[in-house]
Amino acid sequence: MLNIIKADLYRIFRGKTIYITLVILLALLVLQVLYGADGLIFGVMVYTEDASIIDADGALNEIISSNNQIMTGNHVPFSFAAVTDNLIYFMLPFIAIIAAADFSNGAVKNLISSGISRNKYFFAKFILLALFCVILMVIYVILPIILGTVINGFDGEFNIEFIKDVAKIYLPQFFLVFAFVCIGLFISFTFKSVAALNTIYIMFSLLPTIVLAILVEFNDKFFELMNYIPVFAIKSFAIPGSIATSDFVKMMITGCVYIVVCTVGGILLFRKAEIK
């Protein structure tokens, strides 16, 4: 399995995709630091402690008004947390080159026919995606702090409390981003095509939120379903203490379910699949 990971890393770093994706991410982060993240916040709805709903006129305004402040190193990670769901789109090229491309260009045939077990192959891809998810998350958190500090100063103390506060927001967000990436892994191994991955992954990230937003217009009870949509849950974690513990648990369990179902389902399907 280690050989598969090493070989894939060799391949990935010799392609353009990783560099293009990272350059776009960096450009976005620089722009956000320079001009604030408010322009990038879209349709955020946040739960309060008592699970009542504050819409875009409530907690969101708090973020937006805070984003109008100068982006100092201390301020940046809390402001950027509202748009962490963007990472699921930045992970898409990585899912495509790590998992789906092997099926699209047929290279998977060479691997399986040379005696590599399907389980090892699947889990090598799983580990690689987790690795890139961590790398992207680290870049997403660390780089803006550095940029903000260099441009506008830190404005506060860089201490253990600051790190704890950042971790409280980003660890659950990372978990949910990875849960979403697992959906991408499942799509790759089920549909075996980059085109199918792109289409289904993007639809899966947008459609449920859009459908629920429409349903909520008819009945507020549909808000309950938001807990089960990773994209929305990622946004919900943006403000520490803004969500009830029970909702937090629901969201984390939902993330777990996505990871387990997609991994187990993916490997079971792949073990029996014909490779074209």
């Binding site: 353009k16 047929g106 026919s113 014909e274």
Partner: protein, 308 residues
């Protein structure tokens, strides 16, 4: 003693009600170049896909280097290289990078293995060219290089000359022969053109509608396809004496008590008949037999179709 590299026992693959491969039992021995011949859709690729684990049989057993369990088969496949259907590599990587990727993947410590594989298929000059810019012939050769990188004992090639120009076909053929002779690699090569396979294969399996209808050695095929005069006589001993002393030929074979096959005098059957009769041998029948390779293949298929 012959050692089986591959053996299948009643292996079957069905798609719905149609059997793409139907109860195929075959064996490939060490050192063979096994030519698998069949029309398009006969089941050649499906059989190869089962051997390479790209698809699974519904019935039957597969044995590779003496291993039959799933784990054992996977281990045995590490001793195998294959190009099934078209060679599939990463289009944006160069030939060298593609091979380096597979070298790392297979845990081959020797970095020279990449160069050696490229050299074996004469691609060292274009090693820095991206795979997507390769011609079909070059892709086929790089596919073979990929199969060679782990120094395998057994290579499976699915229609390796498909789409190649005449020069490319000759080159591919020579490469297979060289690898067999110099490295002792066993090959399984499929094609729908018997005449092409006849130039390299040492054993043949003819597959039709998923069934292996005939297996034969190089000598048997040669015999089947060689033109000769079949002479039915009353005394084969006396007849062979006449052939050797009067007609000055030793190109004959005694088939049974009444039949001799003469691989000479095709254009002068009357002389043969006359001399045999003149020397006291009664000739009850004489006629030319033997097909060319394509005719033989077609007649076999027709025979099967008629009996079905």
């Amino acid at each position: 003693m012959n050692q089986n590299v591959l053996q299948t026992r009643n292996i079957t693959k069905r798609y719905g009600k149609i059997a793409a491969v139907d109860n195929v039992s075959m064996a490939i021995q060490k050192g063979d170049i096994y030519g698998l011949i069949g029309r398009n859709g006969a089941g050649k690729t499906t059989l190869m896909r089962m051997i390479t684990a790209l698809t699974f049989p519904n019935d039957g057993e597969l044995e590779l280097f003496g291993q039959t369990s799933e784990k054992g088969l996977n281990q045995s496949r590490r001793r195998m290289g294959s190009v099934v259907e078209t060679p599939a590599l990463y289009p944006n990587l160069t030939a060298k990078q593609n091979l380096e990727y597979y070298r790392i993947l297979r845990g081959i410590p020797n970095k020279k293995a990449v160069y050696d594989a490229l050299e074996a298929v004469n691609l060292t000059d274009t090693s820095n060219k991206k795979f997507k810019h390769f011609s079909l012939g070059m892709k086929q050769r790089l596919g073979l290089a990929l199969a060679l990188i782990s120094n395998p004992d057994f290579i499976i090639l699915d229609e390796p000359t498909n789409g190649l120009d005449p020069m490319g076909i000759v080159e591919m053929r020579e490469m297979i022969k060289t690898l067999k002779n110099e490295r002792g690699i066993t090959f399984m090569v499929s094609s729908h053109i018997l005449s092409e396979l006849s130039l390299i294969a040492t054993r043949y399996g003819i597959i039709h509608d998923g069934k292996l209808i005939k297996e034969l050695t190089e000598a048997e095929l040669y015999e089947q396809c060689q033109r000769c005069l079949s002479i039915t006589v009353d005394d084969t001993t006396k007849a062979t004496t006449v052939l050797e002393t009067v007609l000055n030929t030793k190109k004959y074979k005694v088939i049974n008590n009444n039949e001799i096959r003469l691989y000479d005098y095709f254009d002068n059957t009357s002389e043969v008949t006359f001399q045999l009769n003149a020397n006291g041998v009664r000739v009850s029948a004489i006629g030319e037999i033997g097909d060319n390779l394509e005719d033989y293949f077609v007649s076999l298929i027709e025979e099967v179709n008629l009996s079905a």
